[in-house]
């Protein structure tokens, strides 16, 4: 069941999204070699709580995984695609790329967004991966308007990525968001134009392309959370929560990271 949002819900969703965007923008200014992912996690939690919200991921449970997610952010480095657990022992190195995924709950509503940052100067290959993935998110968002379909969003993302020979993570997808962190529908990053359910005004979706520079094969790490590329290739992940409208969608998590 897809819950449509209206003006009773949107102020809280915009606030939750703004908090998430603030966290991502703060982290953009922190990223440097030698920083541990636990330090990023602590800073994010501090800002979320100071803003009157709660970390959405901390303690989050997923069926089939015994251990709840322990962090405020998912911090995934290089070949880690998503759901990396922050750790004091994971230090950033020059040339790494790190994906930070943040969620916050405010007044019963959720915001969810992610950005992949370069650590210092990165190789041209990694820079291209980030650029393409980010562009695919923008293409996906452009396709998310009332009257279009879920397949249109996926097709827009896939069409942007495919010419570069990059792989799309097909086992994981974006999702609806609102009173729950994960609501229907699923928002895959691939699809046929015109397929799937029709988008209508009031749907709130988290669109999140996950792109790999290598083959389309992933596995879950020993901690049961982190998802990695099977061939060790790099991965990038960008995400924004949006509100579907008749015209351009409204960005609920309007992060701007250089």
């Amino acid at each position: 069941m897809i819950i449509l949002k209206d003006e009773r819900d949107l102020p809280q969703m915009r606030r939750a999204g703004r908090i998430v965007a603030d966290v991502l923008e703060m982290i953009a200014g922190m990223i440097r070699p030698g920083l541990s992912t636990a330090e990023i996690d602590a800073a994010a939690e501090e800002l979320i709580r100071r803003s009157g919200a709660k970390p959405a991921f901390k303690g989050y449970r997923v069926p089939g995984i015994r251990r709840p997610f322990p962090g405020t952010v998912c911090a995934s480095i290089n070949s880690e695609i998503v759901h990396g657990i922050p750790s004091a022992g994971r230090l950033l190195e020059e040339g790494d790329i790190i994906s930070i995924d943040v969620g916050a709950g405010y007044a019963g509503y959720f915001g969810d967004a992610a950005c992949t940052y370069p650590v210092g100067a990165v190789s041209p290959g990694r820079k291209s991966l980030l650029d393409v993935t980010r562009r695919s998110l923008e293409e996906g968002i452009s396709a998310a308007r009332a009257g279009k379909t879920l397949g249109d969003i996926g097709h827009a993302v896939e069409s942007c990525v495919a010419p570069y020979g990059y792989g799309i993570v097909r086992d994981y997808s974006g999702h609806g968001i609102g009173r729950h962190l994960h609501e229907p529908p699923q928002v895959p990053n691939y699809g046929e134009p015109g397929s799937g359910i029709t988008l209508v005004q009031g749907m709130t979706l988290a669109i999140e392309p996950m792109v790999m520079s290598g083959a389309e094969d992933v596995f879950t790490g020993g901690d049961q959370w982190v998802v990695k590329t099977s061939d060790g290739s790099d991965a990038a992940h960008f995400e924004k929560s949006i509100l579907v409208r008749d015209g351009d969608p409204e960005i609920l998590t309007p992060w701007v990271c250089a």
Binding site: L4, V169, S173, H175, L181, P184, G196, I197, H237
Partner: protein
């Protein structure tokens, strides 16, 4: 935080072969013959239903409505059924049954005798493709 992608009715295709994962018919194989979206009277929710048929108890004209979360998608699509439905031609029940049975025979698939055995269906998909249905909401 992204989501492990289970079957979603919104993305299902007409003619797609699916397996029921919940209910008395757990383990039974069906073909998708329709998808509906309905808006709740208060306008705040959309409900998706997937209509499935097996050519026996449930036909194209009298399909079974399933919650998409209670179905598991397979990689097979029966083109003939898809074409017939999309061109609004009726699919003969016998032909329907033959196509579905033929698919199962070609792939050496046996339906479980009881819902309790439905869990063994995972063997057809490989461990990574087995998707647990969410627990029923209390």
């Amino acid at each position: 935080m992204c989501l492990k992608q289970p079957f979603d009715g919104g993305m299902c295709a007409i003619g797609q072969v699916v397996v029921s994962r919940r209910g008395k018919d757990a383990g039974r194989w069906y073909v998708v013959v329709g998808v509906s979206e309905a808006v709740r009277p208060d306008g705040r929710a959309r409900v998706a239903r997937v209509y499935v048929a097996d050519g026996r108890k449930y036909t194209v004209l009298k399909p079974k409505a399933k919650n998409p979360a209670h179905l598991q998608r397979t990689r097979w699509v029966l083109d003939e059924i898809e074409r017939s439905i999309l061109s609004r031609r009726l699919v003969d029940a016998g032909r329907f049954q033959a196509l579905l049975t033929g698919l199962k025979e070609r792939n050496s698939i046996e339906e479980p005798a009881s819902p309790a055995e439905a869990g063994t269906l995972g063997a057809f998909f490989g461990e990574d493709e087995v998707i647990a249905c969410p627990a029923k909401a209390k």
